[in-house]
Amino acid sequence: MISCISGWGGKVKILGIVLTAIVIFIVFILDLVEKRKKVDVETVCRTVKRYYESRRYQIFHKTVNGCEVFLIKKGLRKIIICVGGVNFDVVKEILYMAYMNRARDIRVVYSSITKESLEAFERMRRNSKIHKTKVKVNDLRHFESVVF
């Protein structure tokens, strides 16, 4: 009877250690995920540069009203990527750049965006048959689905 209780106590101890380890592991993983989720403009810019430089694209960089704008070229393929706070001045600059460089692929990753700019992109989508320019817009947390 005594050995049965001590055996039971040992099992409980082991179970306790295992459960504690699992909890610590989960907390660690959640912390890692949280750290990964904290995306800022600099991180996105660095990721964009690294990704396209490794694929031998030419990258031209410009800052407009605090928003980072990249013109990425390789042969006939031209992409405009805009990262940061977007207002209508930034929209004007991006569209002018797109027109002059004949870029038909615009991607916007915003940390903040004005209602006017969102409406402008929405209208552009409706008229895409005329200018044949595609626009992808999403916020910083979902930058991977936009820039790659």
Partner: protein
């Protein structure tokens, strides 16, 4: 007898047309005189002027957040966006960016500038660049030096 009636009818129609045209010109001149003091009235004048000069479905856009266009019109099936500038000096090249953005947003293939003054040389070069670039903007309309003496 019938010839006399027909000639009288044609004559009265002609008189009516001439008078109507004169009145229209006078209305436009009055609108321009008011418009030279107030930018929104100048847009109204531009709208009437464009209607008179072959543009259809001419409408002014909202006063703020207009996506770079002051007037949107149709001409031979194409959408045209206009920037209206009431200026005391020449119009500078910043207008071009607004026009290009408006063309994308409104789906226009023609753009235009309507002003009471001259265009700066840099703006003229930019507009030439727009035409030469071979993009979806096919035509640039420039209506400048609008003044009451014209009417």
């Amino acid at each position: 007898m019938i010839y006399v009636i027909l000639s009288l009818l044609s004559f009265s129609l002609l008189v009516f047309l001439v008078r109507w045209r004169r009145r229209r010109k006078k209305d436009l001149r009055d609108l321009l005189e008011v418009g030279l003091k107030n930018p929104y009235q100048f847009e109204e004048f531009a709208k009437e002027y464009l209607k008179e000069h072959g543009f259809r479905s001419v409408r002014t856009t909202r006063k703020s957040k207009d996506f770079g266009a002051d007037i949107v019109a149709k001409r031979r099936g194409s959408t045209v966006v206009f920037q209206v500038k009431r200026r005391n000096s020449t119009v500078e090249k910043e207008v071009v960016k607004e026009l290009v953005a408006a063309a994308y947003i409104y789906g226009a293939t023609e753009v235009g500038i309507f002003t009471n003054n001259e265009l700066s040389n840099s703006l003229k070069e930019e507009l030439d660049g727009l035409k030469r670039s071979g993009g979806f903007i096919k035509k640039v309309h420039v209506i400048k030096n609008i003044n009451p003496e014209e009417f």
